[in-house]
Symmetry: C2
């Protein structure tokens, strides 16, 4: 019995997913990186705060599935740029409640608009039904839902 040889790396899901993720991130990266000098970790934190309102670092970490050290450093940078403020939670003084400043909110809104436009652009490659299905599958693979 000979070894089967129909394995194609380019069909291997983890490979394909990583490649698709990388490629589809490039365009948007140009916006937040080149134009706003931000890292991926930073816009993700910014987006969470803009999107869901006041949160703690821990909550962001859970939603964004990001390690706490990444969050800590992203928060530090955003705070330094006066995009967010940190206030100790008086019920649990270990954690801080993070909120966007007006300046942070402005940047969030600008970036969100870019994100929406970018998303629309990406979607043009597919039918509406395909996009829905794709999202559904990705969410399942991502372990969301």
């Amino acid at each position: 019995m000979t070894e089967k040889d129909d394995f194609d790396l380019r069909n291997f899901m983890p490979f394909l997913l990583n490649l698709a993720a990388e490629q589809s991130s490039l365009g948007f990266q140009r916006t937040y990186k080149n134009r706003y000098g931000m890292l991926r970790t930073e816009w993700r934190v910014l987006f969470h705060l803009g999107n869901y309102g006041e949160m703690t670092a821990k909550e962001i970490g859970e939603r964004a599935v990001m390690h706490k050290t990444k969050i800590s450093r992203a928060v530090a940078k955003l705070s330094q740029r006066r995009y967010l403020t940190r206030t100790r939670d008086e019920h649990d003084r270990r954690s801080e409640r993070l909120t966007l400043t007006p300046a942070g909110l402005v940047v969030y809104r600008e970036l969100r608009q870019e994100a929406e436009a970018y998303e629309t652009q990406l979607g043009k490659q597919f039918t509406a039904g395909e996009v829905v299905l794709l999202r559904m599958m990705l969410r399942r693979l991502a372990g969301l839902d």
Copy 2:
């Protein structure tokens, strides 16, 4: 006219794709990283050589969509572990023809089997038709085809 607020980060393609890619890579990563002490760049190079036979670094870079520095370092490590041999191409002495050693081939076969099993596992979450469609869409997003 008020700002629309139906933007959900968890539906944003670059975000979802990255998350799905990360999550779906974790299981396989445990195999090549913990059990074989390899990096993602290294198994990718190994897989290309095992899959397509003798190649140059440049060819691998094109197929795998990896930067030449990553390849260079991965090749150095694999060579150091005696998983591959490098021989100067006499027609173009700038490049080297890379080939797996018997030891490298063994590891490739083991890892490929793991990859196939892992892929099957991942696929169980979807119907066969969904998998085909998902691959198709990912390839398009990845800029392949």
